[in-house]
Amino acid sequence: MAIILDKDSKIVVQGFTGSAGSFHAQQCIAYGTQIVAGVTPGRGGQTHLDRPVFNTVHDAVRSTGAFVSLIFVPAPFAADSIMEAVDAGCSVIICITEGIPVLDMARVKRYIQQAERGGRELTLIGPNCPGVITPGECKAGIMPAFIHKPGPIGVVSRSGTLTYEAVDQLTKRGLGQSTVVGIGGDPINGSSFTDILAKFEADPATEAVVMIGEIGGSAEEEAARFFKEKMTKPVFGFIAGKAAPEGRRMGHAGAIVEGGAGTHASKIAALRAAGITVVENLSEIGETVARARKPLAA
């Protein structure tokens, strides 16, 4: 068991023949991931990486039975690609693309909400994220596979490279991962920390969760509330951006929408108050989890 993806997940890659799409699809295939098709408009009928290429996601889904889409389409067209995957019936959509206009994501969210009101169950991961990996089973993203190993720790993060850092530390201390999810660094994204924590809580293969947040927004505060009210599994939290200057990215009226949340201090305080173990030093994430799981005998 794992959350989101497992060895049977059939994946179609949008932006398959581009340089990023090609490189990473190849890496995913090498990991054993079932990449069954690719989509590049205008190149339908061709073969790329030994996989069929289709003009539309609809064609790819109909021909191969894929229900997961992995998106490497450039930012100006990525929002449309997400909506295409929704319309074609994909239930899991992972968008790697960085730099999508925020307003485009607001429109995508509306589109997804409409589909959900119609009874569909949809999971969008990203954008601006490294993707999802279920170690030993399925890699759908751009993370370096070799740092991962199967095990009981769930990892969820807003940042790509910070996730690698944390995973590397876990693996080096013998702690494997159930699933590692990058939810992305954009202001509006598909899945929140809370969405993923709920999946980890329900997943029998996950025993503890590492949550890596950063300054801005209130997703970590909401996750802390969820943890306190609904979770039984331990969560270890790290928040990046303590040394970051204030005000360069946050507008004033924006700060008010969040109700005073969004700073490093407020997030740490929210995590602590909820009972999440806070890791202050980025280099000690793995060690902290390891210590908590193997308490020294008295």
Partner: protein
């Protein structure tokens, strides 16, 4: 990117939002009399064009009743160092003044549109208590703030604009004008791909509704489809930040002594935090990006080293998309072109890490290598002493 008041007002005026009589922007006192003439009859308002809020209390906005008074004020204001509660104790030099004709204010409202992350949609924040700092209002009288989410596909509907007008106690004779203005402001927010648009105050004049101030922050991700905004100058960015931006490198200058080059925004922030925790202080935030090549690494290193405060450089790369050997080759290539006078600590992990370390070892460049981030940070802090 943040727009200056006069830039934001020009854009809003084109979109049907009323603004005060505009006399133009002046950088020299010699330009004043022409500006006063353009702005119409006395009184006039002289407004410092800086990005920080709180200008009024800090002396950055002045009213002049005569041309002589305006001249005295303009002379004092151009070149003044403005410290507001938003400048974090630092002074901003006033280079330009916006000259406007005075208008009759009947009431001041607060009106802004922001991107509400949680609702995943634009949201209007409004209050009948305009002119006040919205943060102050939020903590002292949160019940005086009205919030309304807007459909990003449709914009503000007529009925919603009217509801807002009545909620703000706009008199009946100006409800129509208010609704028109609110719709224009929301449309501007959407059309400009703004992340924040704030009018404080939005005023009721005896005859209508007018934006007395305007603050706009745009979404840099959308500049590819905003040709007008893309051509505008980013007033907040330093020369180095602009240079970095042109090279597609995300860089923010800071006050410390350890220059950082990192891949990924989160890890870049985490590296800064680790340096601080190890007793040092970062000189910058720098995300070299997910598709960095030798040229970008060279450019990034050049930018870091142009900052004279830098006493040591820490390169922290966790290879995912970026391959460590490529970064190592980039560093070696860069150091053939740049003479390095400060210690360089390099920490590589992830994709092709061994090949990357090997390239650095064989290069003969005096690089301090580290495997773990904590070790790298401590070495950088030590080297910067």
């Amino acid at each position: 990117m943040k727009l200056l008041e006069h830039e934001a007002k020009a854009i809003l005026k084109e979109r049907g939002v009323a603004v005060p009589p505009n006399g133009g922007v002046i950088a020299k006192t010699a330009q004043l009399s022409a500006a006063l003439k353009r702005a119409g009859k006395a009184p006039w308002v002289l407004k410092a064009q800086v990005l920080a809020g709180g200008r009024g209390k800090a002396g950055g906005i002045k009213l002049a009743k005569t041309p002589k008074e305006a001249a005295v004020l303009a002379k004092a204001m151009i070149g003044m160092d403005l410290i507001t509660h938003q400048t974090h104790g630092q002074a901003i030099k006033v280079k330009e003044l916006l000259i406007e004709g005075g208008v009759k204010i009947e009431r001041e409202l607060y009106f802004s549109v922001v991107m509400d992350r949680k609702a995943a949609a634009p949201a209007i924040i409004a209050s009948a208590q305009g002119g006040m700092e919205i943060e102050t209002l939020a903590s002292e009288k949160p019940e005086a703030i009205i919030r309304m989410t807007v459909d990003p596909v449709v914009g503000l509907r007529d009925f919603a604009a009217r509801r807002l007008a009545f909620a703000l106690n706009v008199p009946n004779d100006r409800v129509g004008e208010f609704a028109k203005t609110a719709k224009a402001l929301v449309k501007a927010f959407i059309d400009l791909d703004a992340s924040m648009l704030e009018i404080n105050p939005l005023i009721l004049t005896p005859k209508g509704v007018m934006a007395l101030d305007a603050k706009v922050i745009t979404d840099d991700n959308a500049l590819f489809r905003q040709p007008v905004l893309a051509k505008m100058k980013d007033h907040e960015a330093t020369a180095l930040e602009n240079e970095a931006k042109a090279a597609d490198i995300s860089y923010v200058g800071l006050d410390g002594s350890i220059g950082c080059m990192v891949n990924g925004a989160g890890l870049a922030m985490g590296t800064m935090d680790t340096i601080a925790l190890a007793g040092g202080s970062p000189a910058n935030f720098l995300d070299v990006g997910g598709t960095a090549n030798e040229e970008r690494v060279t450019k990034a290193l050049k930018i870091i080293l142009k900052d004279k405060k830098v006493k040591a450089v820490l390169i922290n790369i966790f290879g995912g998309i970026v391959k460590c050997d490529m970064i190592a080759a980039g560093v070696v290539g860069a150091l053939k072109k740049i003479k390095l006078k400060v210690p360089l600590v390099v920490r590589l992990q992830g994709t092709n890490v061994e090949a990357g370390k090997e390239i650095l070892r064989k290069s003969g460049i005096p690089v301090i290598q580290a495997d773990e981030l904590w070790d790298a940070a401590k070495k950088a802090v030590e080297a910067a002493k």
